[in-house]
């Protein structure tokens, strides 16, 4: 099937699929970021059980394969009388895994600050919350721009899990699988999706670099 024929027949679906992938990516990343921040706060808090809980959370979701988590959400949860729509399942899987990495990057950002600054802040009489708000968070966020950009791209790649469940509308990967099983899409069908993914990744990377150049702290 030529590219013209393919686009005239499936063009609309490609656009829909692109938006589905974008939507999943944006929602997942937002949720992952919020959870990531919460878990990071637990990890730096002086409350031992919270630290341990956060550490276990990180280890689980850093190391579980996306397929394994999705299977649990889609097929195992109904056995516990928890029924979620396919979209929500994919969304949860694509949020929990990046959330663990998000926390890891934020911790790395916090660790680049150096104890001297915190000791200096404390000797100036700043309270714990003031140190966190005015010294730690601004610097940690600035030095995590590039890792978080990479995280956004890998979140997008994780949303390809959506192709493993029957979803309507499909995402970019699911659409290629659909076209190739129902018609002869061939390499072209695959390349269109791949290029759409790549273009998104490149744009994200460029924007990330731009922000990083603006806010980076030169040491």
């Amino acid at each position: 099937m030529g590219i013209k024929e393919l686009l005239s027949q499936y063009g609309d679906q490609y656009i829909q699929a692109l938006f589905t992938t974008w939507k999943l990516t944006a929602f997942s990343f937002a949720i992952a970021f919020v959870i990531g921040v919460a878990v990071t706060v637990m990890r730096i808090s002086p409350v031992q059980p919270l630290r341990v809980f956060a550490e276990i959370y990180i280890q689980i979701f850093r190391n579980i394969p996306g397929a394994s988590l999705l299977m649990l959400l889609v097929y195992a949860l109904p056995y516990l009388d928890v029924l979620l729509s396919y979209f929500v399942c994919v969304l949860i899987a694509a949020s929990l895994i990046p959330s663990a990495f998000c926390s890891e990057y934020l911790m790395a950002g916090i660790n680049t600050i150096g104890t001297g600054q915190i000791e200096a802040a404390r000797s100036l009489g700043l309270s714990f919350m003031q140190i966190i708000r005015r010294v730690v968070i601004p610097q940690a966020l600035r030095s995590s721009v590039l890792p978080l950009t990479n995280l956004l791209v890998s979140t997008m790649l994780t949303t390809a899990l959506a192709s493993q469940v029957p979803m309507n509308p499909r995402d970019l990967t699911g659409l290629v699988a659909h076209i190739n099983t129902h018609a002869v899409g061939g390499v072209t069908a695959f390349l269109i999706s791949a290029l759409l993914y790549c273009a998104t990744a490149v744009v994200i990377g460029q924007v990330g670099n731009m922000i990083d150049r603006k806010v980076r702290i030169l040491r």
Binding site: Q59, A76, G114, T115, R122, V153, T158, F190, Y197, V202
Partner: protein, 279 residues
């Protein structure tokens, strides 16, 4: 890093006074209670829906179950190892092309690296599963997993290796050149061995991603851990327990690989390149 007092995490607090100690104690008790309540809710769910019944878990008392899962695990490890080797070789070639100084080769390599990093593994798997056979190429299931997984890893490997090469001090190369070494032996005997040591931890972490990606083997019916779990489930009607145990096995393997990466980072700490650093 191992020195607790120098970590930022702990420098945030001064030794707490009596008032703060009380607050921390209360917070500890409250959080313990909250975590316990969470566990209780989950376990109760399991109990109420009958998922704790022996019939769902008796599968794991059988020797054959573990042998079958072990076979799947071997399949996973084999696929991951082969994919890792292929990805490393391809990544090395891409890296050499990129730093070769030849413009055209550089562009090709950059394009390939960006392409492989920006496309999900599943899409590559579907390519090898649905598109490649249409050209009359019959690949065994093993390679239908290994090739896509290694393709999607090779771009990252290339970038990791490149960051290692960039981290080797310039003087090393200059010294080797002034000894009259040929360009390729400067690279292979002086620069790359050092670069490789820098990036061992990052390469080991990449192996985790390779292991995770091989879980999609069920798409092409390759008998890895996940696929064998599915077979078990259809035979024993114990879906939740089998999926949970398999997830735990995957977590354990990847956790071990990550530990190895941390240990390797500790050994080469003096030279380590910060992970994720763009050069």
């Amino acid at each position: 890093m191992s020195d607790k007092r120098t970590s930022v995490k702990d420098a945030l607090f001064e030794p707490p006074g009596p008032k703060t100690r009380r607050v921390i104690r209360i917070a500890t008790v409250v959080s313990l209670a909250a975590i316990a309540a969470l566990l209780w809710v989950v376990l109760r769910r399991f109990y109420e829906t009958g998922q704790l019944d022996a019939r769902y878990w008796s599968v794991f008392t059988r020797w054959t179950t573990w042998r079958f899962l072990g076979k799947g695990l071997l399949g996973t490890l084999e696929a991951a190892a082969v994919a890792g080797v292929v990805a490393f070789t391809a990544g090395f070639l891409l890296m050499v092309m990129r730093i070769s100084g030849n413009r055209i080769l550089g562009y090709i390599s950059t394009a390939l690296i960006e392409f492989t990093r920006g496309v999900p593994t599943l899409l590559f798997i579907y390519f090898f599963f649905l598109v490649v056979p249409k050209f009359g190429i019959k690949l065994p299931a093993f390679w239908k997993v290994c090739l896509p997984v290694s393709i999607s890893a090779c771009g990252v490997v290339a970038e990791v290796l490149r960051s290692g090469v960039n981290a080797v001090p310039k003087g090393q190369k200059e010294a080797a050149q002034s000894l009259g070494m040929l360009p390729h032996s400067v690279f292979l005997k002086v620069v790359f061995p050092q670069a490789f040591r820098f990036v061992i931890p990052a390469l080991i972490s990449e192996l985790v991603i390779v292991v995770k990606d091989t879980t999609f083997a069920y798409v092409v019916n390759f008998p890895d851990l996940m696929q064998n779990a599915k077979v078990l489930i259809s035979n024993y009607d114990a879906l939740l327990s089998v999926y949970l145990v398999v997830a735990l096995i995957y977590i354990a393997i990847n956790w071990l690989i990550n530990r190895a990466s941390v240990a390797a980072a500790g050994r080469t700490n003096r030279y380590a390149v910060p992970a994720g650093k763009k050069q």
